[in-house]
């Protein structure tokens, strides 16, 4: 059996591209944290005339997939306009790498999230204000499509792991078709909470398992 990683992942893990920092970046963001054990910082330089990303650099604290996905994301968006870069999805990133093991798919989401956050940071600096969208079931579903079940490598909405979603007075209740004894139960729970708890109108996120 060969390594669980594609040649491309290993190549970028050993020799990542666009590593480093940009002084006075136009946009900067860090996703994840050392406590999560997975962290990516993205720096972008944008040509104000053309709205193109003329330079992009990253730093990473994480596993091989984390390093490889961050590296490939920077390569994919260099030279693209902000609007084009916003459209990049984690699935495209995974395809570009020649696949990732199911258990590692979340890394591609983190890398894309870090890029999107750096773009948001740039837009906010430029004074492009975003209106506050209320959190409803549709928005929750959309966000939870970015949570991967490491057991299967599928996102938890499409694969039917999410059984029920309720939101009332800022309190979100989510029920999962999964036993609390599942190896990944706790990490899925934490990831769901991570995706929703910082919303401006959310007070509490409860995740229940169906045992």
């Amino acid at each position: 059996m060969s390594m669980p990683y594609s040649k491309k992942v290993i190549e970028l893990f050993l020799n990542p591209k666009n590593v480093g920092e940009i002084e006075n970046p136009d946009g900067f963001a860090t996703e994840g944290s050392p406590a999560c054990g997975d962290m990516v910082s993205v720096y972008i330089k944008v040509d104000k005339e053309t709205q193109r990303i003329v330079d992009i650099k990253f730093k990473s604290f994480g596993c091989a997939s984390n390093i490889a996905t961050a590296s490939i994301v920077t390569e994919m968006v260099k030279g693209k306009t902000i609007e084009e870069a916003k459209k990049i999805t984690w699935k495209e990133v995974v395809d570009e790498l020649g696949g990732l093991p199911p258990i590692k798919l979340h890394c591609s989401i983190l890398a894309v999230d870090a890029l999107q956050a750096a773009i948001t940071n740039y837009e906010e600096k430029m004074g492009i204000q975003k209106e506050k969208v209320p959190t409803d079931e549709n928005l929750i579903r959309k966000r939870l499509r970015h949570v991967i079940d490491p057991n299967t490598g599928k996102e938890i909405i499409g694969s039917g792991v999410v059984k029920k979603i309720e939101i009332k007075d800022g309190i979100i209740n989510i029920e999962l078709n999964m036993s609390e004894l599942n190896q990944f139960a706790n990490s899925i729970k934490e990831e769901i909470q991570e995706k929703l708890k910082y919303r401006w109108d959310v007070k509490e996120v409860n995740v229940k398992f169906s045992d």
Binding site: G37, M39, K59, F61, C63, H106, P150, S187, E190, E191
Partner: protein, 386 residues
């Protein structure tokens, strides 16, 4: 590329002599003990099984009770903990364990919790030692079992089994010791240590995978968790795995305490070199009271999986205490229970040595490790706050 294997706390290379013994019982004497009254192969198989039982009995100073062969540590722990809780649930529903046990204890406890048992997890201090005062306080009238490991699988810390045994005896509570990484490296005396149940596994000391043994002081204290034939005192049905039992016996027979001392010298050499050549580390193993072959170190600002994968590419096998499979990377439950922060736990690497490792290998490992840590620290957004 020559491989350097430093993951011996996970599993070890089978010794050639052990392999020879196993082969003999696969190809020459392949009968089963239950054929003792039918043919010679059965008789010789029975003799081997019983002499191995005797060997283990002597080694652990068994005066009463039985030795039962299992498929390894996990099964042994399951038979004991589930067996005792099933049998004694009328007497009480409370069990005590530590938060740093192997998953084959912790997940059995979680399963029992779902069944209505109460589980207490006795605190460990910053070095991983069980807090004996708290243990005393946790014992109640309805406590039916204390289950504490001998040696920790990640840091190598050796628990004070004799002291815990005294407490258990004084409070009249049954005591189980998972000695998967203890026996035969460390002396086990079930009488002196007041041990009621003991788990042994072969593949940690150059024996084969898939075989182990348990010691049970009193067969009346547990119910079988599997049903079938009447093998192994009606507690563990299934055809006895004679070749592997023979292999387990051989591995015990040839185990050499001198090797264990030499491994410690090698470990201290590795530790000194790392301390001298790599900055920003944390030593998670209490060197004075830990398994000779285990050394656990955190390398700050870098993540463990990246370290081990890069080291693998230069021929070195290591493992990390962190598993990265979600946004909230799973840090080692052992290190967290010792009070380490997630940040401290994520870059933790376990070096575990065996009699097959050499000083030259250690020199090479440290050289490559220096390069790996430097590369990953250059890539990392984290650095020391001055």
């Amino acid at each position: 590329m020559k491989r350097i294997y430093l993951d011996n706390a996970t599993t070890t290379r089978v010794d050639d002599e052990v392999l020879k013994e196993i082969n003999y019982y696969y190809t020459e004497i392949y009968g089963v003990p239950s054929s003792i009254f039918s043919h010679r192969e059965g008789l010789l198989a029975k003799e081997k099984v019983e002499s191995t039982r005797e060997l283990i009995s002597k080694k652990i100073n068994k005066k009463e009770g039985e030795i039962i062969f299992t498929s390894g540590g996990t099964e042994g722990n399951n038979i004991i903990i589930k067996g005792v809780s099933n049998k004694l649930k009328e007497k009480g529903n409370h069990l005590i364990t530590s938060p740093i046990e192997h998953l084959s204890v912790l997940n059995v406890m979680k399963f029992l919790e779902k069944k209505g048992f109460q589980i207490s997890y006795v605190r460990v201090d910053k070095n991983g030692f069980v807090d004996l005062d708290e243990l005393k306080k946790l014992i109640k009238k309805d406590t039916i079992l204390i289950s504490i490991q001998h040696v920790n699988q990640e840091t190598g810390v050796i628990q004070n089994i004799e002291e815990i045994g005294k407490i258990a005896k004084e409070k009249e509570v049954l005591f189980h010791v998972d000695s998967s990484l203890g026996f035969p490296f460390l002396d086990v005396d079930v009488e002196k240590m007041n041990i009621d149940f003991l788990t042994i596994t072969a593949h940690k000391f150059h024996g084969p995978k898939g075989v182990g043994a348990i010691y049970i002081r009193d067969l009346n204290k547990l119910k079988p968790i599997m049903h079938g034939g009447y093998n192994e005192f009606n507690l563990r049905p299934g055809t006895e795995n004679v070749p592997l039992i023979a292999g387990l016996g051989k591995a015990i027979e040839i185990f050499n305490k001198e090797d264990y001392k030499r491994i410690n010298e090698l470990r201290l050499y590795l530790l000194e070199k790392i301390k001298n050549e790599i900055s920003d580390i944390r030593i998670n193993t209490p060197i004075e009271k830990s398994h000779s072959g285990i050394l656990n170190i955190t390398f700050y600002f870098v993540e463990g999986e990246s370290i081990v994968l890069r080291m693998d590419m230069v021929g070195v096998s290591l493992i990390t205490g962190s598993a990265c499979y979600s946004k909230s990377l799973e840090a080692s439950h052992v290190l967290l229970a010792m009070g380490l922060s997630h940040e401290d736990a994520h870059g933790s690497i376990r070096f575990s040595l065996s009699k097959y490792n050499t000083k030259e290998e250690i020199d090479y490992v440290v050289e490559e490790l220096k390069k790996t840590i430097k590369f990953l620290r250059d890539l990392s957004p984290l650095k020391r706050e001055n």
